[in-house]
């Protein structure tokens, strides 16, 4: 079992990288040219002072694009996965508090956002999706050496194990 995972791990890591990176990149790309909407989406969570929410609304799209690109290319994998996972974790908290407080908003994850009709909220799906992404991020933090990445590869097998923390 362990050995099987060892052989598959770089490929699983590649898939994790592409999914997490692809989602982050797409999320940022779809919002980058609509800064007003992005700001509104953050404001409607009613978690932050307006000025900070507006600032975050401008910062998030390029940040998501950068993290997504790094993950897709496999550069700085562990750092990008940590930050990406942290971002998703914050999103889960934000969505959960909106749900708990009975706000009716769209998560604005891929553009859009703001108030929606009560029956159009998708809190559970959004949280489950982000949980899945946190899991992928955690996997990459634990096993950052993956196929087709431009991160410097360790030269020997035992170094892979060392980085991946597989030392027995």
């Amino acid at each position: 079992m362990k050995n099987k995972h060892l052989a598959l791990q770089p490929w699983l890591g590649l898939i994790a990288r592409l999914i997490l990176g692809g989602v982050l990149f797409a999320a940022g790309y779809l919002k980058i040219d609509k800064p007003d909407i992005s700001q509104m989406a953050v404001r409607s969570y009613e978690m932050l002072p307006i000025s900070i929410a507006n600032f975050l609304g401008l910062v998030l799209p390029p940040l998501e694009i950068a993290l997504g690109a790094l993950l897709i290319l496999g550069a700085l994998t562990r750092v990008a996965a940590t930050l990406g996972g942290f971002t998703m974790f914050i999103f889960i908290i934000a969505i959960a508090q909106a749900w708990a407080r009975g706000l009716n908003i769209d998560c604005g994850c891929f553009g859009g956002g703001g108030a929606v009709a009560a029956e159009d909220t998708r809190y559970l799906q959004e949280i489950l999706r982000d949980l899945g992404l946190v899991f992928l991020a955690a996997y990459l933090v634990r096993y950052p050496v993956t196929k087709f990445s431009i991160d410097k590869k360790p030269r020997k097998m035992n170094e892979i194990s060392e980085i991946n923390g597989d030392m027995e």
């Binding site: 007003d36 307006i50 507006n54 940040l63 550069a75 108030a115």
Partner: protein
């Protein structure tokens, strides 16, 4: 160094660092201009009817102090705004012409490109005293979002249709004279936590979201009570 000893061993750090630098650089190039453009530009040209202290809105009956103050935040491309205009537009126009209310129009541009072009043209028409007419016409003939219908030549022609014949209007539309102002309006809306269009406030308080946007009766009642 060790790479020479071990030519099969991995890619060098230079490529990786270059990629990281490029990615971070591109992100900053996307971020910094946006951050800067989101500052309110107090030197931007504004139409005569605009009042900076009223959130850069186009204000009618500014002199009325004890009448209800209706603030309308809208986007020329937003279908819900067109719906509200078709329901309450005539009544609001009547309030303005009979001087029964102070009214501020905030032409937001959430929907991007053509919302900005339309908002600029609306400001140009305000200088010609034709804002309400242009506003009504645009809302009644709203094309689908950013379909390429709203260009400066469209607004020049529309101006002629509304009886605007001054060359200043054409120039104003063609040069996007009030684009700085359009951004200021958006910025003020963001500062005032306007999270959907239309948003209508009467004396600073939003009207009932579940009713007053969809029914003229409820909206009139809200104005009467104010």
């Amino acid at each position: 160094m060790s790479k020479a000893k071990n030519p099969s061993g991995g890619k060098d750090n230079f490529t990786r660092n270059l990629v990281i630098a490029v990615v971070v650089g591109v992100a900053l190039i996307m971020l910094v201009p946006t951050l800067l453009s989101k500052q309110t530009d107090t030197s931007a040209a504004i139409p005569a009817s605009v009042s900076a202290e009223d959130g850069y809105g186009i204000v009618f009956n500014k002199e009325l102090t004890d009448a209800p103050f209706i603030e309308i935040y809208e986007d020329f491309q937003c279908p819900a705004c067109a719906r509200f205009e078709s329901i309450a537009g005539e009544y609001i126009e009547e309030l303005i012409t009979t001087k029964k209310a102070k009214v501020a129009f905030h032409t937001l541009s959430f929907l991007g490109g053509e919302s900005q072009i339309a908002a600029n043209a609306a400001a140009c028409s305000a200088d010609e005293g034709k804002f309400l007419q242009l506003h009504k016409t645009l809302m009644a003939n709203q094309p689908s979002e950013n379909s390429g219908a709203w260009t400066s030549s469209y607004f020049s022609t529309l101006g002629l249709g509304l009886g605007i014949s001054s060359p200043e209007y054409d120039k104003c539309v063609g040069d996007n004279k009030y684009m700085g102002w359009v951004k200021n309006v958006a910025e003020e809306g963001a500062k005032r936590n306007i999270n959907s269009t239309p948003t209508v406030l009467i004396n600073g308080k939003e009207i009932d979201r579940s009713r007053a946007y969809a029914s003229l009766g409820d909206f009139m009642l809200a104005v009467e009570k104010a």
